[in-house]
């Protein structure tokens, strides 16, 4: 890597104000944990054995991120089969539907079937998140964005889809309140459906309202992460939403379509590709970061992955996190 270019990026990174770095979603399970889940699925072991192993892995993952100097740490969401599953399984009014392709990936989720108005009758997240590992930690939680949840479900009950979106936003708030003492400092709402295509005015208003509900019921930073699709589809209205941080996927976003926008909050750029095993060099990360950061003028920038790392084998995901942290340090954030 050319020293001159690195020095240039460090200067650029400082000038652009990189204030945080974090992982953009769920982590892959280790092969040992995968095997444990299979044994549970086949009835050969109780679920408690998976809990013990997953907790141990989550603990090591948190420690690794802390050592590397990431700003917000994830516990990996290793117990989640898919990002919707806790809600699919535990919300009243939702049944577990068929395996369905997760966007354009060779990954499948179980479609939530909305059979009656959704109702939260039990605490959900406390069964899926190792909150006891997160006490005193600046941590990040990733949840489905309400409109995306609606789009990925089969609605057989609500006559107005808007009500489902708003009800789900309310449920997220109730859940976040149960985590109050150990709540996340950063909440990422994963929102590919906001970028899949341009939404019409009514849809945008409902999305904004749902984000307002979440924002008003939660004390930390709210991030909306647009990945898998060109983020420009959600521009400029997303800049005007209640989110504190907007995340974009630079591997599918055309920079020329977002060039010239500015906003008073933070832009998270997913410069590490979680869908390919090539571990980016700091140079590649820096180049990509700068080419997007100079397009959109934000108060500050975050350096992250473009999506969940669960598309990778675990050791590759770990290598990517290390490189993300290294790039963050060199670009002027974190421990430096």
């Amino acid at each position: 890597m050319s020293l001159l270019r690195v020095v240039g990026w460090v200067y650029c990174g400082l000038a652009l104000g990189i204030e945080a770095s974090h992982v953009g979603g769920a982590m892959p399970r280790s092969e040992e944990l995968i095997r444990a889940f299979r044994r549970v699925a086949e009835g050969r072991e109780p679920y408690s054995s998976v809990l013990v192993l997953a907790k141990s892995e989550a603990s090591k993952l948190i420690e690794m991120q802390r050592r590397l100097g990431l700003t917000y740490l994830v516990e990996g969401q290793l117990l989640w089969h898919d990002i919707l599953r806790p809600f699919t399984e535990l919300l009243e009014g939702v049944k577990t539907g068929p395996l369905t392709r997760w966007f354009d990936n060779n990954l499948f989720y179980k479609k939530p079937i909305i059979v009656s108005n959704i109702l939260r009758t039990t605490s959900i997240l406390e069964k899926y998140v190792f909150t006891d590992l997160l006490s005193g930690v600046n941590w990040k939680l990733i949840l489905p964005e309400p409109y995306t949840f609606y789009r990925l479900s089969a609605n057989q009950s609500y006559s107005r889809w808007e009500d489902l979106v708003l009800d789900f936003a309310g449920i997220l708030v109730e859940e976040l309140k149960t985590l109050a003492g150990t709540g996340p400092a950063l909440l990422q709402l994963s929102a590919p459906c906001l970028a899949e295509k341009k939404l019409d005015t009514d849809q945008v208003e409902t999305v904004k309202e749902s984000l307002r509900i979440v924002k008003n019921g939660y004390n930390g930073l709210l991030m909306v992460h647009l990945f898998f699709y060109d983020a420009s589809n959600a521009f400029p209205w997303i800049l005007d939403s209640p989110a504190d941080v907007i995340g974009i996927d630079p591997f599918v976003t055309a920079p020329e379509l977002i060039r010239g926008y500015s906003f008073e909050r933070s832009l998270a750029i997913g410069c590490v590709d979680a869908r390919n095993s090539h571990v980016e060099s700091v140079e590649e990360i820096g180049y990509l970061f700068n080419s997007f950061a100079e397009c959109v003028e934000a108060r500050a920038y975050h350096l992250t992955t473009n999506t969940d790392l669960e598309y990778l084998p675990r050791h590759v995901a770990d290598a990517k996190i290390e490189r993300l942290a290294e790039a963050y340090r060199i670009l002027g954030g974190g421990l430096s």
Partner: protein
């Protein structure tokens, strides 16, 4: 040609004696299936198992023979060996390729994973187990054979790219450069891996080949690429080609699939269909309207057997599905009776009974129209 010819779609669960634990119950099962399916000299295998005097290669050959006989005993017109000598459709194909490195398990759903590889350099076929596999099957089969191969688009889509994406490219945006990299990857897998296998099989007498492309519609903007790659691998080859695509949104195939130089398209329908009898409305087969509207020139093999349930479709249900499909498609002479997909996840007892009823159902559907 007879109406509603019957065929399988590739995989079958491993033969009982390929399991890890070879106890007396497995040996009894081996004896049972050998007798039921009329496997010649099956007593030799049973004796070898009892004496623990066998090689892995011997067992795989026996498994291949058992699977061929299972399909033949059920009465299928076109058979295969249930992929008894393969690991699975993706890993088996890429294990024979230079320039590929397996990186480890990635999730497909819940606790289901596959061993995912990265393309590290230009892929080249280093080994070809398909020819000896086919030669063995050809020596033993009493019916026509159809060889399944994984298609280049699926091999690329299910792999990481550490080579093409890293090659210097001077022009275009990141999105355009990635698109170009993907295209090169798919075409290299087509030209350097899949096509050489096809040519070697045809040279050895294979005349029916099934190209499995379950990933064909994963990325809607790349369906055209899948078709181009398919045409590349079959270009000028004198054989009957089936494309098999399962559990996909088939509407995304259009209009690209109209350009595919395929003789048959095999799709999954039974999984989406009701199990009640009747020929008037069958939701699993609505998609066939689209194929009719586009006047496709290939034959269609809509699955009439659901491979994800132990429910044994009665012959009358198979009949109704076939007659309904023929009506919707508008040309019974271009409807083939088969499963939704391979029967790899079903026990042999279930798989066998399903195939028997597939053949019976096709027979009564044929009688109805004739």
């Amino acid at each position: 040609m007879k109406l509603f010819p019957t065929q399988e779609v590739g995989s079958l669960m491993r033969a009982p004696f390929l399991r890890k634990q070879l106890d007396e119950s497995v040996i009894s099962e081996t004896e049972y299936w050998g007798r039921l399916l009329g496997v010649e000299r099956y007593e030799v295998l049973v004796d070898k198992l009892r004496r623990e005097d066998y090689t892995v290669e011997e067992l795989r050959n026996w498994a291949s023979l058992y699977a061929i006989r299972l399909h033949e005993a059920a009465g299928l017109d076109v058979v295969w060996d249930g992929e008894q000598k393969r690991i699975e459709m993706y890993e088996h194909a890429l294990r024979q390729v230079k320039g590929v490195e397996f990186l480890g398990k990635v999730k497909v759903w819940d606790a289901e994973t596959y061993n995912k590889a990265a393309i590290k350099s230009k892929p080249q076929l280093a080994e070809n187990t398909y020819v000896p596999e086919f030669q063995f099957a050809k020596r033993h089969a009493r019916r026509e054979l159809k060889v399944p191969l994984t298609g280049p688009y699926t091999l690329a889509e299910w792999s990481f790219d550490e080579y093409y994406i890293s090659r210097p490219r001077t022009t275009g945006s990141l999105i355009e450069r990635r698109r170009e990299a993907k295209r090169e990857m798919v075409f290299d897998l087509a030209r350097e891996v899949v096509r050489p296998v096809i040519l070697s099989l045809v040279e050895n007498g294979a005349n029916r080949i099934q190209i499995d492309e379950p990933a064909a519609t994963t990325k809607p903007d790349e369906v055209g690429l899948f078709v181009e790659a398919f045409n590349e691998i079959v270009k000028g080859v004198n054989a009957r080609f089936t494309i098999h695509i399962c559990y996909s949104d088939y509407t995304l195939l259009f209009p690209y699939i109209l350009e595919a130089k395929a003789h048959e398209l095999s799709i999954e329908c039974a999984n989406k269909d009701a199990v009640s009898l009747g020929q008037d409305e069958r939701r699993g087969y609505e998609i066939l309207k689209l194929f009719r509207e586009h006047s496709v020139d290939f034959a269609l093999a809509p699955g009439v057997i659901d491979v994800h349930t132990d429910f044994i479709e009665p012959p009358e249900l198979v009949r109704d599905r076939l007659l309904h499909a023929a009506k919707i498609f508008g040309d019974p002479s271009r409807i083939i009776a088969c499963n939704d997909c391979g029967l790899r996840t079903r026990k042999w007892d279930v798989a066998y009974r399903k195939e028997v009823n597939l053949v019976r159902g096709a027979s009564i559907a044929r009688e109805t129209l004739e």
